[in-house]
């Protein structure tokens, strides 16, 4: 049962992540009043990239990329997808640690690439991660304190009984703060700083060609999936919709409907983020850090205080 959950969860996350990439390009094109590529365009891109003979710069170059891809896959196994959650020991703390494996892997391979553009891109990536980790930690502390648990499955189950945490009074500020830092976690504009094509020749990806670029695209898709799925699980109730799925929660129909409701919530949040992506230019890294350490940190800190006082 668990093996099938692991395989199914990873496969579904991969498919949904790549679908999100295609959906992003299509919606951006329609906002620009043009037709845009077909939604399956990232699949065609990845097949083409796999059939090209990229150039490797050494063994750490290969290893770093595999390392970051593995890191993203492992985080997916800890996130409840619908009702399935293959690995559940450690919950939120493990997720918080493992989310930093992906930038570390990219840093290893771009260090081996010896291109100044990739060094600049990686340093900005880590600075941005430093920027959003501070409010993220405060938000997670607030959620864990309110529900008295670190397990993500428990949080989703309690929300199925008592309503979404976004709507419950102590956690409103934390929810708003998470929504404010979500573009930084996903790496979309205005925080598309590390992968900027025009400024630093696409940052860490500058020396990737062929299959390395394909892996990098897959890793980017998985990273976006993780960011949105964490938000939906923590604040928007996960796989349930005001408790209507509680009676059939253990049947096959329950699992399938849970996945569908989860996906609908993810698509809505993703489309809102694409609208934000279409409108904003890019920040500089110091503007991004100033923003991330000002209002979202303040809101999440006040949210933490409210939760502590409430309990």
């Amino acid at each position: 049962m668990q093996i099938s959950e692991i395989i199914l969860s990873s496969l579904l996350a991969l498919i949904i992540g790549i679908f999100f990439l295609g959906l992003a390009r299509k919606i951006m094109a329609r906002i620009h009043w043009r037709y845009g590529p077909p939604i399956t365009q990232p699949v065609i891109d990845i097949i083409r990239m796999f059939s090209q003979k990229g150039i490797s710069h050494g063994s750490i170059f290969n290893f770093g990329l595999i390392f970051s891809l593995t890191g993203s896959f492992v985080v997916i196994l800890f996130l409840p997808f619908g009702k399935m959650c293959p690995l559940s020991s450690g919950g939120l703390l493990v997720i918080l640690y493992l989310m930093l494996l992906a930038p570390l892997g990219i840093a290893l391979s771009s260090g081996e690439a010896a291109n100044p553009n990739s060094s600049i891109g990686v340093s900005r990536k880590f600075l941005l991660a430093l920027g959003y980790e501070v409010p993220l930690l405060l938000i997670l502390l607030a959620v864990m304190t309110h529900y008295h648990t670190i397990s993500l499955i428990e949080i989703v189950r309690i929300q199925a009984n008592t309503g979404w945490s976004f709507g419950s009074l102590p956690l409103v500020l934390s929810g708003i703060a998470y929504f404010l830092i979500l573009p930084a976690i996903l790496g979309i504009r205005p925080f598309e700083i590390s992968g900027a094509a025009q400024e630093i020749s696409s940052g860490p990806k500058v020396e990737f060609g062929g299959k390395f670029l394909a892996f990098s695209t897959i890793q980017h898709a998985l990273h976006e999936f993780i960011g949105i799925s964490l938000f939906v699980n923590l604040f928007l109730g996960g796989w349930d919709l005001f408790g209507i799925l509680e009676p059939i929660s253990n049947t096959v129909w329950g699992i399938i409907l849970g996945i569908i409701i989860f996906l609908i919530k993810m698509v809505i949040i993703f489309v809102i983020e694409i609208f934000i992506n279409a409108v904003f230019p890019r920040f500089r890294i110091e503007q991004a850090m100033k923003y991330l350490w000002k209002w979202p940190t303040l809101l999440s800190f006040i949210g933490l205080l409210i939760v502590v006082l409430f309990n």
């Binding site: 094109a29 043009r34 037709y35 083409r48 090209q52 062929g210």
Partner: protein
């Protein structure tokens, strides 16, 4: 997608994917740089064909030479072309890479690009309109289907002759040959 296309996709997915996803090197030489922004922006949208510009040659598969080529630019073009991963295609816009074009008697521009790097197709015009560039892209699809767009294989097999041409133009070159006898 009808049955014919599905069969083609299943038989050789790499070739079909090469047709429908061109990542273009953003290397703008010559006069054609003014025709590239209309080509990729909202009015004549090139992204519906899968064409998108990327920042580095390492990520690209199509190289557009957009106009006349002076001897200084040719050095940069050769270095960029050699960095792209294979399979790669080259398309030359305008009449200057074909036979020198308007600058046929200039002391500084080359008269025929095919002697130095392999070119898969030319799009005639001075400069061609975006509609002509789209027709050129569909011709390139046909060539890829027929396995005739083999510029990169010609470069690999006849590298001795290409290098001899480059050295006859420049004298001593600053970088060593790309393919030696061992790794062809």
């Amino acid at each position: 997608m009808d049955r014919n296309k599905i069969c083609k996709w299943l038989k050789n997915p790499g070739k079909m994917a090469h047709k429908y996803s061109f990542h273009v090197v953003y290397f703008c030489t010559g006069c054609g740089i003014i025709e590239i922004p209309p080509f990729i922006t909202a009015r004549w949208d090139a992204e519906r064909f899968g064409i998108i510009p990327v920042a580095t040659p390492r990520q690209a598969s199509l190289f557009l030479i957009t106009g006349y080529v002076s001897t200084k630019t040719l050095k940069a073009i050769i270095r960029t072309y050699e960095q792209m991963p294979e399979p790669k295609y080259t398309v030359a816009l305008g009449s200057c890479p074909i036979n020198g074009g308007m600058y046929y008697d200039s002391y500084n521009t080359i008269t025929s690009l095919d002697k130095y790097i392999p070119v898969d197709g030319y799009i005639a015009g001075c400069m061609p309109r975006p509609e002509a560039i789209f027709i050129g892209v569909t011709h390139l699809w046909k060539l890829i289907d027929m396995d005739k767009a083999d510029g990169y294989q010609r470069y690999r097999e006849d590298y001795v002759h290409y290098r001899a041409n480059q050295e006859q133009l420049y004298g001593k070159m600053d970088w060593p040959p790309l393919f030696s006898e061992e790794n062809i």
